[in-house]
C-alpha cells in the first residue's frame, strides 16, 4: 500500500501540453478515477506515475520518496494497459509469471502465486494457452492477474474495460471493484466513461486539456460541480445551463419536473417549457425543449422517471418547475461555481 503524490506535474510533447501543472495526492487504499474527454492527458498522467514517461517539470513522490527520475522497475507499480499488452509469444502462465521472474522469485513460489492469481480471476484452465487463443474478456483477466501477482503497492489501470462489450463490461466493473476492496491496493483508474467513473470511484479526478478541474467523491462531483466543464461533462444528459445576466444557472435534468400544487411555493422556480422533442427510454422519458423569453430562449432537457406518466406532446408548452436548492450558479466569464455552503 502506498501514497502517490504528484507535485505540480507538467508534460509537454513539443508544443502540446499534455499535462498541465497537476497536483494530486492519493489516499491509501482508495479507488481513484481519472475522468476526462479523449486527449485530455489521462494516459500521460498515468504513464508518468508508472515511470514510463518522465515529467517535463514537477515531482512524483511515492511513500515519501521522490521517484521522478527513477525507472519503472524501482517503483513496484502494476499497470494494466488499454491494449492489455500481453506478451504474444508467451503462454498465459508465462505472462503472469513474468513480473515475478524479473524479481527473482524462485520457481515453486512462482507456480504457487500464478495459480493463486489465475484462480482469483477464474482463468486457471487457460494457463497453457497463448494470448491469441483467448477472448477479449479472458485477455483482460490475464492482464489483471499479471498486474496483481506481484502484490504491487499501486495499481494503475488505463481504460481496461473499453475493449469489452456492454454486458461483459458491467460484470467486469463489479468484479474489479470487489477485488480491489479485497486487496485494498491504492488504485488509479483511467476512463472517459463517466458512468464507469461514478460507479467505481471512491474519488473522481475530472480533467480537461491537461488540467485538473475537480477532485471529489462521486456525489460531490455530481451535486457540486466546480465549474461548467464538470457540470456538462458529468451526467447524461448533462446539466442544463441557462443565462441569467452575468451568471449561468445550472440544474440537473431530473430536478426539472412538471409543476403542480406541491411546487407552488417559495422553494421552486416555474418556467413555461416549450417541448420540441421527446425520447421514450423505458424506465424514463427525456423531454427536450426551450424555456424563457423568445429573445433568449434556452434549450434544456428534463428527465422524467417512469412513475410520472402525464401525457406530454412535442409542440406544446407545459409549466415545469425546479427546486431552488437544486440550482447551481456559475460565473459566466470564468465558468467557476459561485455557490458555497454545500447542503
Amino acid at each position: 500500500m502506498a501514497r502517490v503524490e504528484l507535485e505540480n506535474i507538467s508534460k509537454l510533447f513539443g508544443a502540446t501540453t499534455a499535462v498541465n501543472e497537476v497536483n494530486l495526492q492519493t489516499i491509501e487504499g482508495e479507488f481513484l478515477v481519472l475522468l476526462g474527454p479523449s486527449g485530455c492527458g489521462k494516459t500521460t498522467l498515468l504513464r508518468m506515475i508508472a515511470g514510463i514517461e518522465t515529467p517535463s517539470s514537477g515531482d512524483i513522490v511515492i511513500d515519501g520518496e521522490k521517484v521522478t527520475h527513477l525507472p519503472p522497475r524501482t517503483r513496484n507499480i502494476a499497470m494494466v494497459f488499454q491494449s492489455y499488452a500481453l506478451y504474444p509469444h508467451m503462454t498465459v502462465f508465462k505472462n503472469i509469471a513474468f513480473p515475478l521472474r524479473t524479481r527473482g522469485v524462485d520457481r515453486t513460489a512462482i507456480r504457487e502465486k500464478v495459480e493463486q492469481a489465475a484462480g482469483m480471476f477464474g482463468i486457471g484452465s487457460l494457463l497453457e494457452r497463448k494470448p491469441r487463443e483467448l477472448s477479449g474478456g479472458e485477455r483482460q483477466r490475464v492482464a489483471l492477474a499479471r498486474a496483481i501477482v506481484r502484490e504491487p503497492s499501486v495499481f494503475l489501470l488505463d481504460e481496461p474495460l473499453s475493449n469489452l462489450d456492454a454486458i461483459l463490461r458491467a460484470s467486469a466493473r463489479e468484479e474489479l471493484r470487489l477485488f480491489q476492496r479485497r486487496l485494498g491496493v491504492t488504485t488509479v483508474y483511467v476512463t472517459h466513461d463517466q458512468v464507469e467513473a461514478m460507479g467505481l470511484g471512491d474519488r473522481i479526478v475530472v480533467m480537461n486539456k491537461g488540467r485538473v478541474h475537480q477532485v471529489g467523491t462521486p456525489p460531490e462531483i455530481y451535486q457540486w460541480p466546480a465549474d461548467t466543464f464538470v457540470a456538462t461533462f458529468v451526467g447524461s444528459p448533462p446539466m442544463n445551463l441557462i443565462e441569467q445576466g452575468d451568471v449561468l444557472a445550472g440544474f440537473r435534468p431530473e430536478t426539472f419536473l412538471p409543476a403542480g400544487p406541491a411546487t407552488e411555493n417559495e422553494g421552486f422556480v416555474t418556467y413555461p417549457f416549450q417541448v420540441t422533442w421527446l425520447e421514450y427510454l423505458g424506465a424514463e422519458r427525456l423531454v427536450y425543449g426551450d424555456i424563457g423569453e423568445k429573445c433568449c430562449a434556452r434549450h434544456v432537457v428534463s428527465r422524467l422517471p417512469g412513475n410520472i406518466s402525464i401525457p406530454i406532446e412535442p409542440g406544446k408548452t407545459y409549466p415545469f418547475a425546479v427546486a431552488k436548492k437544486a440550482i447551481r450558479h456559475f460565473d459566466r466569464a470564468s465558468g467557476r461555481l459561485i455557490d458555497t455552503g454545500k447542503t
Binding site: 525507472p71 491494449s83 499488452a85
Partner: protein
C-alpha cells in the same frame, strides 16, 4: 425468362479461379524456361562427357561425381562455400541488429545515416568488390597504411609484424577474411533494413509493459525483442545464406579462388572447371552440389514465413 442471374455477361473478372490461373502463368513459364530447363540440362550434362569443344550429350553415368569427389580442390570449395556463407551471415545478423537498434533511436541527421547504411546495397556487386580490391591491395592497401600509422605494423616489434604489408589476398587466412568482409559489407544494408522493420513492428506498449513488470534492458532484449523478431531474423539470415552461397562475383574478382585454390567456392569452381577449363560435364556436376542446400534453405524460408502468418 425468369429474373434469375444472367448466364451470359459473367465477365472474366468475376471468375476468381480463372483469373488466378492467368495471373500465375507468366511466373510458371518463367520458372519452366529459365530455371527448370537449365536445371534439367545441368543434370544431363553432369551424367555425360560433354566439353565446350564437343557439347553433345553422351551419357556416361556417375563417373563425373566420382572424379570431383576425389578432387581436393572440390572439397575445399565445398567447405569454403559453407564457411563463407555461415560466418558472414552470422556476423551480418549480429551487426545488423546493433545497427538497427541504433537507427531506431531518435537523433539528428538520422536520414543521412540511414542513407549511408543503404548505400552498399545500391552499388553493383562487381563494382563494390573492385573497390575492395584496392582496400586489400598488396602495396597500397589503406588498411595496412592505417595499421602502420598507429604502429601495429611495419616497425620492429610491432604487434602484427615488422613487414610493411599484410598481403590480404595472398595469405590463405587473410584472403578468407577478406572474402567474408566483402560479403558482410554487401549484405549488411539489406539485413539492417529487415531488422529495422522487425524492431518497429513490436508494439511499443509491450516493451513498456515489460519495463513496468520490472524487466531490465537486457531482459527486455532477450525475452521480448529477440523472440518477437526471431521469424524476421531467420528470414534475413536465410536470404543472406542464399545470396552468399550462390555468389561468385566476390571470390572471382577478389582472389580468383587463390592463393592456390584456398578461397575457391562451388560457383567459382564450376566456372573455372566447366567454362574456363572446358569440362562442361564436371562443371555441371560441381554446380549440382549447391542444389540440396538451397532447396533445404528454401523450405526453411517457407516454413518460417508460414509460422509468422499465424502469430
Amino acid at each position: 425468362m425468369n429474373s434469375g442471374p444472367r448466364a451470359t455477361g459473367t465477365s472474366i473478372r468475376d471468375r476468381a479461379d480463372l483469373l488466378a490461373r492467368i495471373m500465375i502463368t507468366p511466373a510458371v513459364l518463367y520458372i519452366a524456361v529459365m530455371i527448370g530447363f537449365p536445371f534439367i540440362l545441368a543434370i544431363l550434362y553432369s551424367l555425360s562427357d560433354a566439353t565446350t569443344g564437343d557439347p553433345t550429350l553422351h551419357i556416361i553415368g556417375l563417373q563425373n561425381f566420382r572424379d570431383i569427389l576425389a578432387d581436393p580442390v572440390f572439397r575445399t570449395s565445398l567447405k569454403n562455400t559453407f564457411v563463407f556463407a555461415l560466418v558472414s551471415q552470422t556476423l551480418v545478423i549480429v551487426l545488423s541488429r546493433i545497427l538497427a537498434t541504433a537507427l531506431m533511436a531518435d537523433f539528428r541527421g538520422k536520414w543521412l545515416v540511414r542513407f549511408l547504411v543503404m548505400l552498399p546495397w545500391t552499388a553493383p556487386i562487381s563494382l563494390g568488390t573492385i573497390g575492395w580490391l584496392w582496400m586489400f591491395d598488396s602495396i597500397f592497401s589503406p588498411i595496412d597504411w592505417i595499421l602502420r600509422k598507429i604502429g601495429l605494423l611495419g616497425a620492429p616489434g610491432a604487434l602484427l609484424g615488422p613487414m610493411q604489408n599484410l598481403y590480404w589476398l595472398g595469405e590463405p587466412f587473410l584472403a578468407m577474411a577478406s572474402v567474408v568482409t566483402v560479403h558482410v559489407w554487401r549484405l549488411l544494408p539489406l539485413a539492417t533494413v529487415i531488422q529495422l522493420a522487425g524492431l518497429s513492428s513490436i508494439p511499443r506498449d509491450l516493451l513498456e509493459a515489460a519495463e513496468v513488470d520490472g524487466a531490465t534492458a537486457l531482459r527486455k532484449t532477450l525475452e521480448i525483442t529477440i523472440p518477437l523478431t526471431m521469424p524476421i531474423i531467420s528470414i534475413a539470415f536465410l536470404f543472406g545464406l542464399i545470396f552468399t552461397f550462390t555468389d561468385m562475383t566476390v571470390v572471382y574478382v577478389l582472389t580468383r579462388g587463390g592463393p592456390i585454390h584456398m578461397t575457391q567456392v562451388l560457383s567459382t569452381w564450376t566456372f573455372f572447371k566447366g567454362i574456363e577449363g572446358g569440362d562442361l560435364a564436371q562443371g555441371a556436376a560441381v554446380s549440382l552440389f549447391m542444389f540440396p542446400v538451397l532447396a533445404g534453405i528454401a523450405i526453411l524460408v517457407l516454413r518460417v514465413a508460414r509460422r509468422t502468418e499465424v502469430v
